[in-house]
Subunit: 241 residues, 2 copies
Amino acid sequence: MASEVPTRAYRRLSVEQRRRQLLAASLELFAHRAPEEISLDDVAETAGVSRPLVYRYFPGGKQQLYEAALRSAADELEQCFAEPPEGPFTERLTRALDRYLTFVDEHDTGFSALLQGGSVVETSRTNAIVDGVRRAAAGHILLHLGAAQPGARLRMTVRTWISSVEAASLIWLDEGKVPARDELRDWLVEQFVVCLVVTAGRDEQTAEVIREALALEDAEGAVGGLLRRVLPVVGDAGHLL
Amino acid sequence: MASEVPTRAYRRLSVEQRRRQLLAASLELFAHRAPEEISLDDVAETAGVSRPLVYRYFPGGKQQLYEAALRSAADELEQCFAEPPEGPFTERLTRALDRYLTFVDEHDTGFSALLQGGSVVETSRTNAIVDGVRRAAAGHILLHLGAAQPGARLRMTVRTWISSVEAASLIWLDEGKVPARDELRDWLVEQFVVCLVVTAGRDEQTAEVIREALALEDAEGAVGGLLRRVLPVVGDAGHLL
C-alpha cells in the first residue's frame, strides 16, 4: 500500500500550484487555531514540504503568509454573495448566507480570531482586507436590491445588517453553534427584510426597493412564513394604530 | 485681568483630583485625534502641568494613560444604559440611546479609533474593556425587557442589535453625521423593536417579552409611529398571507 502513496515533498508542482498548496495548508491551520499559535514549521509539515521552501514562497515569513491566506479567504467570502439576479430577493439572500455560514462553520477558530481582532499579526492591511469583504458584500446586496445609486439611509441599513451578520456569526461560534445553521440563516434573512421595512418608513428610495422586492415574493417564501409567525405575536397591538 | 486667572500648574489638587484632571485632559485629546497621534507632552500641555507630573501618575506612559482614559470612557458609556425601569420600553431605550449618541458625537475621532481597531495601542486589555461595555449594555437591556434568564435566541437578538448600533455609529461619523442624531436614534429604536418581533416568531420567550412590552406602548409612541409609517409600504403584500 505504502508505495502507492506518493511522498508529497517530491511532487512536481508549478510555482502557482505550489503557492496554492501552501495557502491551502495555511488556511487549514488558521481555520482551527489562532494565528499566534501557528508557526511556519506547522505550515511546512501540513503541506508536506520543507521549511526553506515555505520561506522561498513567502520571504516575509508568517505575516506575509497570513496576509496571503487571509486574502485568499477574503476572495472566497466575497464570492459567497455573488448570485444570479433571478427570483425572489429572499431566495437569493438565503443562498448567499448559506454559503457564508458554511464558510464560518468550516473556518470557525480562524474566523473568530480574524474578526475579533487583538491578534498579534493584525495590522491595518489585514483590517483593510476584512473591510474589503464587507464593502463587496454590501455592493452585491445593493445590486440585488436594484439600487444602483443607494442613498445614505439604504446604505446604512445594508451595512449595519452586515455587521449584525458578523456579530451573529461570532456569537453562534461562541455558543457552540446553537441554534442550527439553517435556523440562523433564515433568521438573518428575516432580520434584513424587517430592517429594510423600518427604513422604508423614513426613506422613499427604500420604500420603492421593498415594494418591488415584496412583489416577487410568494406566500410559501421567507416573507410569507415570517408574516404568519409574527402576526399572532403582534395581534394584540391594535391599541397602537 | 491676568492676575485673576490662577496658573493651573500651581493649583493644589489631591492625588485623586489630579488623576481625574489628567484623565479628563487625555479623554479630550483622544476624543478628537487617533491615539498614535497623541504624546504625553500633549497631555501635559492640555492639563497645564509638567511632563514629569504626568509620568508620576502614569508611570506606564502612554499605554497606561490610554487604558485609564478608555476605562473612564467605558464607565461613562456603561452609565448611558442605566435607566429607571418605568414607562414604555421604547421610551427608556430612546433616552439611553440619546445619551450614547451624545457621547459618540462628542468623542467622534477617539470613538472611531477605538472601535475600528488597528490602533498601535490596541491590546487584548483594551479589547476586553470594549467588550465589557457591550456586555453591560446587553445586561441593562435584558433587565429592562424583564428577561432575568434570557435564552440563546433572545441574547443573540440583543447582542447583534448592539453590534448594529456600533456599526451605525461608525458609519454615521464617517458620513458626516447624516442623518440627524435624533433620526438615527429613533431609527435604531425601531430596528430593535422589529428585530425582537422577528425573533418572537421563532422563540416563545421573546414572544412573551414583546407582548408585555407592546402592552405598555401607546399610539403616540415609537411603535405606533412605526406602524403608521410602514403599513402603507407593506400594504400591497396581501398575496403573502
